[in-house]
């Protein structure tokens, strides 16, 4: 065995090998098409759970379930060398299941035409800390920044407008007749549900405040970008106002926050929410269920025979189909619904406050609409269909992953039964 160490230089070589074996960060060298040439053990540790059965022969393939656009992103990168992505976050799963990291960071550097280097690391904990910080930031932002104009609204315990004042008129244009109406009247139609409004109040009770940013509506129907802070009023009696709602018009800041939001939460190709946004929204819904039980439906959908579309029309044709599908999904959904692309041709929609029959009806409407609306591509029309699995969150489920699994099973049934159809997940049995 000592023969390995006899040659001069051999010790250096072994030390170098061991240095790479032990490096606490994943390093991969790959070809332009993603083929892996070299990788160190930590890369394998991070990547193997993504594809326990597949070999690590191609990095784009290995990461395709969580970063479907990587190949396209590299192809679109025109420069001879440079950073293709820098510490991009990849979201592997919704919750901590003990099955490896939840969030990976990926940097990709182009060295020359046919050589790339990737750096991978597990940033699960860092991501969690940052999310906490973002919440604090949003709060500080709401109270510290320019508050030149704001509407101050008092609400009763049920969230109805309790008193009217000049500031409401100034910012929203509503007059005193709005007294007694739910505060949803400041939101565009479909942007909130009665359940969601009550939950905000409960969140305010528990945390001392609740904040959300989004479109608001004035009396004349025009819209503006606003931030709403709700806070419980201390020492209130039964007959007095229970909450204070502050609405600020932050339209001038919208561009900044929207750009940031897009970069972080939007899918590169379709403009829908990405995996990260979907998981975060799903977690929020699940947390809410502990406070107020309400139905939550999940649709998982998949473009049928998508590989054939790619084979026939090429990837740009496939992309056109995915974009059209995203449009159609948006057209049948409410603003409060969470519409996301999870990867490849796999999409999901969370429908808050929707029971099973209604969810199946939405799915059926979507399926029919997709069949009716082909995607336009180079003066041709690509006809395609989707299969949809529907699942309802029930009290026995422990997390979002279980709901996703049930919807996935239903989707699989829809595929097996001939595609272009909707199937609902079998209601789960109580586990104990």
């Amino acid at each position: 065995m000592s023969s390995l160490s006899e040659h001069p230089g051999q010790q250096d070589y072994e030390a170098l090998l061991q240095f790479l074996y032990m490096a606490p960060v994943g390093l991969v060298q790959l070809a332009g098409d993603g083929a892996i040439h070299m990788l160190n053990p930590l890369s394998a540790q991070l990547l193997m759970p993504l594809s326990p059965d597949g070999g690590l022969t191609n990095l784009f393939d290995a990461l395709s379930p969580v970063a479907p656009d990587l190949r396209a992103q590299c192809a679109a990168f025109g420069a001879e060398q440079g950073a293709i992505c820098d510490a991009a976050r990849l979201y592997l799963r919704a919750q901590d299941s003990g099955q490896g990291p939840q969030v990976l960071s990926l940097s990709l550097l182009k060295l020359d035409r046919n050589r790339l280097m990737a750096v991978l690391s597990d940033v699960t904990l860092q991501d969690r800390r940052e999310r906490q910080l973002r919440r604090t930031d949003a709060w500080l932002n709401a109270i510290m920044t320019n508050i030149a104009d704001y509407a101050l609204v008092s609400l009763d315990s049920g969230g109805r407008v309790d008193g009217w004042n000049d500031s409401i008129q100034r910012v929203t244009g509503f007059d005193a007749r709005i007294q007694g109406q739910p505060y949803a009247l400041f939101y565009p139609p479909g942007a909130t549900t009665p359940e969601q409004q009550l939950e905000r109040l409960q969140e305010a009770d528990q945390n001392g405040w609740t904040l959300d940013e989004g479109l608001r509506q004035r009396a004349d129907g025009s819209q503006f970008w606003g931030s709403s802070l709700i806070s419980p009023l201390p020492g209130r009696g039964a007959e007095e106002a229970a909450y204070c709602l502050i609405i600020r018009d932050i339209s001038d800041k919208r561009e900044i926050s929207e750009n940031l939001r897009q970069a972080t939460y939007c899918d590169y190709l379709t403009g829908l929410l990405n995996r990260r946004a979907f998981f975060e929204a799903g977690e929020r819904e699940l947390l809410r269920r502990h406070k107020v039980p309400r139905p939550l439906a999940l649709l998982m959908l998949d473009a049928d025979h998508f590989k054939a579309v790619n084979d026939t029309y090429g990837h740009p044709g496939g992309d056109a189909v995915l974009r059209q599908l995203a449009q159609t999904m948006k057209s049948v959904c409410r603003e409060v619904d969470v519409v996301a692309r999870l990867g490849g041709e796999e999409f999901a929609i969370l429908l808050p406050s929707v029971d099973q029959d209604a969810a199946v009806a939405v799915a059926e409407r979507l399926r029919a609409e997709v069949q009716r609306t082909p995607a336009g591509f180079e003066q041709r029309m690509i006809h395609y269909t989707v299969s949809i699995g529907v699942a309802m969150l029930d009290e026995h489920m422990h997390g979002l992953d279980e709901l996703i699994k049930l919807a996935d099973q239903a989707l699989y049934q829809a595929k097996r039964n001939g595609r272009n159809r909707v199937r609902r997940g079998a209601p789960s049995q109580p586990s104990e």
Partner: protein
């Protein structure tokens, strides 16, 4: 010692325990034995050559932190941890990709562990 011992033969663990270093070195698959503290105690020459590391660099080192960080996940390390916590027998063979000399290498891994004081083993067969 007969050299007909194969990677997949049943009841391999007691056999490995009874083999001396020369017999381990004669095997045509990699053998890494580690104790309850995950310190590597045995490392045969097949594995040493494949990894490009002399045994002296590996013996006494931590199995999942230093020697084989690529196995430090729920597919491998977790299985040993669970088997030890439950006091159960572990004998599973899985397909895996190792990074021997930083080259992705398809292998079969056999994970062996029994309750008691004996070593746990990872066996590596290159495909």
């Amino acid at each position: 010692m007969s050299t007909t011992i194969s990677f997949s033969q049943p009841d391999l663990l007691p056999l490995l325990e009874s083999m001396d270093e020369a017999a381990l070195n004669a095997l045509d698959f990699g053998v890494i034995g580690f104790d309850a503290e995950d310190r590597v105690r045995r490392y045969n020459s097949c594995e040493s050559q494949a990894a490009g590391l002399g045994a002296e660099r590996v013996l006494d080192q931590h199995m999942f932190m230093v020697v084989a960080p690529c196995l430090n996940n729920f597919l491998v390390a977790q299985r040993f941890e669970d088997a030890r916590a439950e006091g159960s027998v572990l004998d599973e063979t899985i397909h895996y990709v190792l990074t021997l000399r930083m080259r992705p290498t398809k292998v079969r891994l056999r994970l062996l562990c029994q309750p008691g004081d004996g070593l746990a083993y990872v066996l590596v067969q290159r495909l």
